[in-house]
Amino acid sequence: MRPRSAAARAWAWLRRNALPIYAGLAVAYMLIPIVVIAVFSFGATPKDKLTFGLNEGFTLEYWSSAFSLPQLNEALETSVRLAAFSTAISTAIGTLMAIALVRHRFRGRRLTNLLIVIPMATPEVVIGASLLSMFIYYSFALGFTTLLLAHVMFSISFVVVVVRSRLIGFDRNLEEAAADLGATPFATFRTVTLPLLMPAIVAAGLLAFALSIDDFVISNFNSGTTVTFPLYVYGVSLRGIPVQVNALATMLFVVAAVAAALVLIQQRRAERMAAVRPEVAATAPRPVPGTAGAQ
């Protein structure tokens, strides 16, 4: 075969790798705003101007002063507190629901599934508006409580989905072994089921936390005068956002990414620990009869 020209070879290589190259580009596109936010958090801006723009010069000013805006701090604190409460409640409630759905046969199961699925498929604006309608009807004062009620509501479904998917792939043998060894159902649950389920519960909790701390639309309807982090950002976005917000957003991103990575690693480890399964034992190398003695 005659050596092909460089251009032809490059073209062939491109064609062969078009898909991975495309995937790289698409993923880069997904990351653009994140990079922009991080870069802007290091950009110097004139002191008197609150802008969300790239300017000359590199500065750590906004990172060191990230927590120096009282209103922003207050909003962040509200958000973290709200997310913590919402996560605790929705994770507990949702985990119980997931256990019931996977482990028990009962009447009304389809309806239960529907009630869990439909809130996830409902536009946030409708959820926010309907809750506000109810709160208006009862002249219920809007504030932290209404936010909490709403946040737990929209988090439950996601918790159920995460915990449920892990329960489906769950090895029942371990529980049966515990029962055979005389453990009561509750002891089995506490010492076998719960520890094995923990990675999923933690993952679900993190998701609930992220959903709560990120929520703008539903909060916008039901917050009254309470200001959460996204509501603060929205409020100042009309005037120009303090650069500290970029620094905080970058911090939140790093924390969330690290937490997600840790959960993933922990989940893999738990899967390996739980993998004392027959099919794994069967594939393990076994001494071939007759050769064992020779070794």
């Binding site: 898909l19 991975p20 495309y22 995937a23 698409a26 997904m30 990351l31 705003p33 994140i34 922009v36 936010i37 802007f40 969300f52 723009g53 790239l54 409630i93 629901m97 019931a100 482990r103 028990h104 046969r105 009962f106 239960t112 529907l114 009630l115 869990i116 699925v117 809130p119 498929a121 409902t122 536009p123 946030e124 604006v125 409708v126 508006a129 309907s130 309608s133 109810m134 208006i136 009807y137 709403a150 509501m153 439950i156 159920v160 989905v161 449920r164 998917s165 992220a210 990120d214 703008f216 639309v217 916008n220 309807f221 950002v233 976005s237 970029n246 939140l252 991103f253 990414a257 997600a260």
Partner: protein, 289 residues
């Protein structure tokens, strides 16, 4: 089974079902109730079976409703076109990069939705390098803007809901039995025919799930229209938000919101009848039963 044992699932489900019922189902009732009131903000709104609020809310905002369908529809199609090859590449060509790529797909979720969209506002702003490149390429007229156009809103919607398209597609493609594609090729099918006759039909469930998960939130969204669009780009979500929170014209807002819910509920229930709750719940069980 004893009665006590039979009651266990209901005890486990109780708190969650109660919460979802009181704070999801019941509010829908009150939204319906509010939609049937009439009056003004000053005199107060009283209940009087004001059915006309429903047609009024539609005719008064036809423009925004049509626009919402158009924006969300276009964004969904774009997201599908971007996501399918990406999900395919992650499922079959990524090798050891697979987890990293999946991580990158969900990475946007680790920053606040609002801040991400504001970042796009900056990227698309009038003096940004991207816009001058687009102007040089004559894709945007020399004195034209990108921000405050339909294009900007659609781009924002496409970006923000892209992960909702990628993930169900990936989940579907990952389970695809590649031997079927090989069989098609063994039987002298071209790559294109194998894709159209084997891969595409087998990934239809993922496509439908992705389309729903993208279209529904995009249809109800008002952040992108508000931040990236101008007054000429407002969507149904903007109308509902404005009527509820600024003008406090509750009946009309509730009527519009109620109709949106009814439409989406109809679509979702039809979908679930055919495909089960798998796409939303992470499946397996539905198939097993």
């Amino acid at each position: 089974m004893s009665l006590r044992q039979r009651l266990v699932p209901y005890w486990l489900l109780g708190p969650g079902l109660l919460w979802l019922f009181v704070f999801f189902v019941v509010p829908m009732y009150f939204m319906g109730e509010l939609a049937l009131r009439s009056g003004t903000l000053v005199t107060g709104y009283s209940f009087e079976w004001a059915w006309s609020n429903f047609p009024d809310s539609l005719t008064g905002h036809t423009e925004q409703i049509v626009r919402s369908f158009f924006y969300a529809g276009t964004a969904t199609v774009l997201a599908l076109l971007i996501a399918y090859p990406l999900a395919y590449a992650i499922a079959f060509r990524a090798g050891r990069w697979r987890n990293l790529l999946l991580f990158a797909v969900i990475a946007p979720f680790f920053t606040t939705y609002l801040i991400r969209t504001i970042a796009w506002k900056t990227i698309l702003s009038d003096d940004s390098p991207l816009v001058s490149v687009l102007q040089t390429l004559a894709l945007v007229p020399p004195d034209g803007r990108v921000l405050a156009t339909s294009g900007a809103v659609i781009a924002g919607l496409t970006y923000n809901f892209l992960p909702f398209m990628v993930l169900p597609l990936y989940a579907n493609l990952e389970r695809l039995d590649l031997r079927l594609v090989e069989a098609a090729k063994d039987l002298y099918s071209s790559s294109r025919a194998a894709f159209l006759k084997v891969t595409l039909p087998l990934t239809m469930p993922g496509i439908v799930a992705g389309v729903l998960l993208t279209f529904i939130p995009a249809f109800g969204d008002y952040i992108n229209a508000q931040l990236l669009g101008g007054t000429q780009q407002s969507m149904v979500g903007n109308v509902i938000q404005g009527l509820y929170l600024t003008q406090r014209d509750y009946p009309e807002a509730a009527a519009l919101s109620f109709l949106m819910m009814a439409l989406i509920l109809a679509v979702v229930v039809v979908y679930i009848r055919f495909a089960g709750t798998g796409a939303f719940m992470g499946s397996e069980e539905e198939v097993r039963r």
